[in-house]
């Protein structure tokens, strides 16, 4: 095994991992703000994929422009989902919100399967590749990384530099106290949920530019997001990005040492193990 192969595996892993990271960031944000495990996450990722695919193949819109529309759609859909399905059960036991989000997932996946069938799709979009020494980097993945970093930066600016961001953090710290200060918590929670689903749809849109997919593909990334969220600490969005990078590198490097099919076994065992020994995540505190 040459150092070149290892280097290019790591580079590949980092580039894909950062996109996993943005998917997981949405899940982590929602958990952090309202302690809801969002099981519609995979469906929203799938919708993001289809949004970019349909806008690109039928209207010829550049995927990255389409991504803006998809992000807006993801935000809106998230707010609607929150207001219809989650607002009523936000104070109920975990099972209620788990099943509420899962039922929305069933509805979206059911409609998606009926309309789009489960035939694999491919945008067939390419930006060529860049060669650095032994490492060839796909253009689409480099742009995906840039988009992810930009979105992460924007999210943090929003959360820490704006008034609305401050109210979100207030609600996530202590909802009752925030309400006493006059913050409309339902609207803020709806917005936070929308931002979470927006991140999911952006991740889906980015993945669609370099992988083929079906309406069911989102669930694979949802499971990966769970692993990442646990790696980075539940409720810590920046941790999710780091967790994504860790998972990406693992996925890049592990196949060099063992058959490809063993990689998910290691990932899920790691997931359960971390939950057991450090439920706060590798990066999180207690």
């Amino acid at each position: 095994m040459s150092p070149g192969t290892i280097a290019s595996s790591i580079a590949d892993g980092l580039l894909i991992g950062i996109v996993y990271g943005i998917a997981a960031m949405g899940l982590s944000l929602i958990w952090g703000v309202m302690s809801v495990i969002n099981l519609t996450h995979g469906a929203l990722i799938s919708l993001g994929m289809f949004g970019v695919y349909l806008l690109f193949t039928t209207f010829g819109i550049n995927p990255y422009l389409a991504l803006i529309a998809v992000a807006g759609f993801g935000l809106l859909l998230g707010v609607i989902i929150y207001l219809i399905a989650i607002a009523r059960v936000i104070d109920a036991p975990h099972l209620s919100s788990l099943l509420a989000t899962f039922s929305v997932n069933m509805i979206i996946i059911g409609l998606g399967t009926a309309i789009f069938t489960t035939t694999p799709r491919d945008t067939g979009f390419s930006l060529g590749s860049v060669q650095i020494g032994p490492i060839a980097l796909q253009g689409t993945r480099l742009v995906a990384m840039a988009v992810t970093l930009a979105v992460t930066g924007a999210l943090y600016t929003f959360l820490y530099r704006t008034r609305t961001g401050k109210t979100i953090r207030a609600v996530s710290n202590n909802r009752a106290a925030a309400e006493l200060m006059g913050i409309p918590s339902t609207m803020i929670l709806a917005l936070s949920f929308g931002i979470g689903t927006m991140l999911a749809s952006i991740a889906g849109g980015l993945i669609a530019t370099f992988f083929s997919f079906t309406i069911l593909s989102g669930s694979i990334y949802e499971l990966k997001s769970f692993i990442i969220v646990v790696l980075g600490g539940l409720g810590n969005p920046l941790g999710a990005l780091v967790g994504g990078l860790i998972l990406g590198v693992l996925e890049g490097v592990l196949p060099l040492a063992m058959p490809n099919t063993w990689v998910p076994v290691i990932e899920f065992l790691l997931f359960v193990f971390i939950l057991l020994v450090r439920p706060g995540g590798l990066l999180g505190g207690k």
């Binding site: 109920a92 099943l99 039922s103 996946i109 399967t113 499971l223 939950l275």
Partner: protein
């Protein structure tokens, strides 16, 4: 002994007996297939209810016990030529052992963390078995057709598995009722209401939870063997479908968690509805209605969670006080 006079127990038993005996009396194979699916769903729901409804721990990994039990049983049947009863017991024992080992570790996690861990366990089990050569890796285990000969041919074997599933369902009902009315069950329910308070009051919560988990795992492990024996083959994708665990959760929610009758009615209702939707000829626009089976189930589930979270039986009991003496 007073608990055996409760009409709620007998109503449940009569429903299951009616379902189970119908195909035996008519000796009709299609009816048997319908009842088989429903009885299977009932046992899965009733057993999951022990850990979820009584104890309050939401598990997305119930199908792991079914899948792993099924795999072990099929392995015994195929590679060791074990007789079916032994394979069924082997499946149940493996599931119980797994639940014991898992219980000692992941039941320390509470609420959403436990739910997440069970998703992880399910995926870990599926991906592990896909790689595990003795279990046939990704292609799974396929039984030789000749194996059915020792049970009087394939047609007779189908009846034998049906009787066994029927028997297991009855055991599940009695077992669930025994737990519910016992002191042990009271301990579980106090864990559900407030785990810390239960501990203070003298419930040894780690042991109680682990035991509840083991009890909920045995029957699914046995069912898995019967189902895959009937099927003739087992594959990782069929054995560890996360979706089946969630369907079982939905059934419990429909009927009412923590009740005896609830999971039975929920499983019955869910499977009937599913059957109706899958076989209907109605069209919605130019797409057949059966394409929308998932959508309709989803909408139904959402309505129940938002408006009647106690499920049918829980709602009836709350709404009509006299029914509390009739429904368990």
């Amino acid at each position: 002994m007073k608990q055996w006079l409760h009409p709620g127990f007998w109503i449940t038993v009569v429903i299951v007996l009616g379902l189970g005996l119908a195909p035996i009396i008519t000796q009709d194979a299609p009816t048997r297939e319908v009842s088989f699916t429903i009885l299977l769903a009932i046992t899965m729901a009733v057993s999951l209810n022990i850990i979820m409804g009584y104890t309050g721990y939401v598990s997305f990994g119930h199908v792991v016990f079914y899948g792993l039990g099924g795999y072990v049983g099929m392995y015994l049947l195929d590679s060791w030529d074990a007789p079916l009863p032994l394979a069924v017991l082997g499946g149940g024992a493996t599931a119980a052992l797994l639940a014991f080992l898992l219980g000692a570790s992941i039941l320390r996690l509470r609420g959403a963390y436990f739910a997440l861990a069970t998703i992880g366990i399910n995926e870990a089990a599926r991906t592990f078995v896909s790689n595990f050569e003795p279990f046939g890796g990704p292609t799974g285990i396929e039984l030789q057709f000749s194996i059915y000969r020792s049970y009087g041919g394939a047609a007779q074997a189908l009846w034998i598995t049906y009787y066994a599933v029927f028997g297991i369902t009855l055991v599940a009902i009695i077992f669930s009722y025994l737990i519910k009315t016992s002191k042990f069950g009271l301990g579980l329910m106090s864990i559900r209401e407030d785990e810390d308070a239960a501990e203070v009051m003298g419930v040894v919560t780690p042991n109680a939870k682990t035991l509840a988990f083991v009890f909920s795992a045995i029957l699914p492990g046995m069912l898995g063997v019967l189902f895959f024996f009937k099927n003739g083959n087992v594959e990782p994708g069929d054995a560890f479908r996360l979706h089946s665990s969630i369907e079982t959760l939905v059934m419990i929610m429909l009927g009412g968690q923590g009740t005896l009758l609830g999971p039975v009615l929920g499983a019955l209702g869910y499977q009937r509805l599913r059957g109706l939707l899958l076989t209907s000829d109605v069209k919605l626009g130019d797409l057949p209605l059966k394409d929308f089976q998932l959508v309709i189930s989803g909408v139904l589930l959402l309505i129940i969670i938002l408006f009647i979270p106690a499920g049918l039986v829980g709602w009836l009991r709350r709404r009509f006080a006299p029914l509390r003496r009739v429904l368990a």
